[in-house]
Amino acid sequence: MTEFLTAAVGFILAMLALGLVSILRGPGDADRMMAMQLIGTGGIATLLLLGTVASLPAAIDVALTLALLATFASIAFVKKGLSSLDADGTAPTEPK
């Protein structure tokens, strides 16, 4: 079982890496913003599997933190990355 799960983590991690390659290459910023999304799902899956493999129940908490923080990071990405494009009508009003 442990071998199977370890192999599964390795596989998902490899998929994650491949996905990251394609996303980080771009071309647009919107593509790069997806990176956080990808890590949000792939990273959580990896963490959960890893926690089970090493029987570290606390790894679930790391996954939980990752879920919250990856969401936050993606939002910051959308908000800051495209502030010039007024994403979601959320451009900051600069006090100039």
Partner: protein
């Protein structure tokens, strides 16, 4: 070679690949994205190293908040990019590469020849846990055995705030840090900013509370709370408080302040500075941690918000 080792090599390769991307890619914005991904994936290594406390910290502070901090700067500095022409020449690159590689190799060599069995303080930390009746040895180290470092580190955070604030234009002193965000009240961002923070608050407090006996603690919980606060700020649902606010300043010194008070009480009435009477150790430490989580959440949030930029009403 076992499957586990192969997995570890894959993990290290992915993380290092992201590291290389971060360093060599031309655009700063892409480098930042790469670094955030790197920071979040390093948490996996920490889990693999059986250091869950650090994994939580790295995921929350190293990757999450740190990444967002860098990202905000990258977004603001985008226009400055073409102006930079003084890129390093090839000779410099080659020399730098050789020197960095040599340093890294020396370091790797030094790590590989470390003694076996390795010296460790784990048994000492575990066997002295009675003094605090907390089951998480990392929290014990942070809050009891090396409490001085933790307290000083809180002062470092405070100084970082003072340093960031000291960069404000004189006219904006006392005002709100960062821009005032406005968002479409019917947009998805606002929708998420209404839903997520309460959940984050429960998780953050849970991480703090569980830190007494399981991996977790004030830093990690504080970082989650800060993220939630910033989410509300970015969605325009809340504003950063003015830096002249007395209440804000009280929150910002609550952690180190209470730490100091408890420490001095130990000096006056107990056995030593920063010692806890065993019977009250747990409640005292938890009280300090509660003060610290508020301080950390406020500090991290304000560090991300930046220097004061505008007066109230601007």
């Amino acid at each position: 070679m076992s499957i586990a080792t192969i997995f570890e090599i894959v993990l290290a390769a992915v993380v290092l690949g992201l590291g290389i991307w971060t360093i060599v890619v031309r655009e700063t914005y892409s480098a930042t994205v790469g670094f955030v991904a790197y920071g979040l994936l390093v948490a996996l290594i920490w889990v693999r190293l059986d250091a869950i406390d650090v994994a939580l910290t790295e995921a929350a502070i190293g990757g999450g908040l740190g990444g967002v901090l860098l990202l905000g700067a990258a977004a603001q500095l985008r226009d400055s990019e073409p102006a930079v022409t003084d890129a390093a020449g090839n000779a410099v690159r080659v020399c730098a590469a050789i020197l960095s590689a040599l340093t890294a190799a020396t370091l790797a060599g030094a790590v590989l020849v470390l003694p076996d069995p390795a010296p460790t303080l784990a048994p000492a930390a575990v066997s002295n846990a009675w003094a605090t009746s907390l089951a998480n040895p990392v929290t014990n180290v942070l809050m009891a055995f090396r409490a001085m470092d933790t307290m000083l580190e809180k002062v470092v955070l405070l100084l970082a705030i003072i340093g960031v604030w000291s960069l404000a234009p004189d006219s904006a002193w006392g005002g709100h840090p960062g821009p005032r965000h406005q968002a479409d009240p019917h947009g998805v961002l606002v929708f998420l900013a209404r839903l997520l923070p309460p959940i984050g608050i429960v998780v953050g407090i849970y991480v703090l509370w569980t830190g007494a006996n399981h991996p977790g603690g004030a830093f990690q919980g504080g970082a989650i709370l800060a993220a939630m606060w910033l989410l509300a700020i970015m969605a325009g649902l809340a504003d950063t408080p003015p830096v002249s606010s007395r209440r804000l300043r009280l929150i910002l010194v609550a952690g180190p302040g209470l730490f100091l008070v408890v420490g001095i009480a130990g000096l006056l009435f107990g056995s030593a500075f920063l010692s806890y009477p065993p019977a009250q150790a747990k409640p005292l430490i938890l009280a300090i941690e509660v003060a610290m989580i508020l301080t950390i959440a406020a500090t991290l949030g304000l560090l991300l918000a930046g220097a004061p930029e505008r007066r109230t009403g601007q």
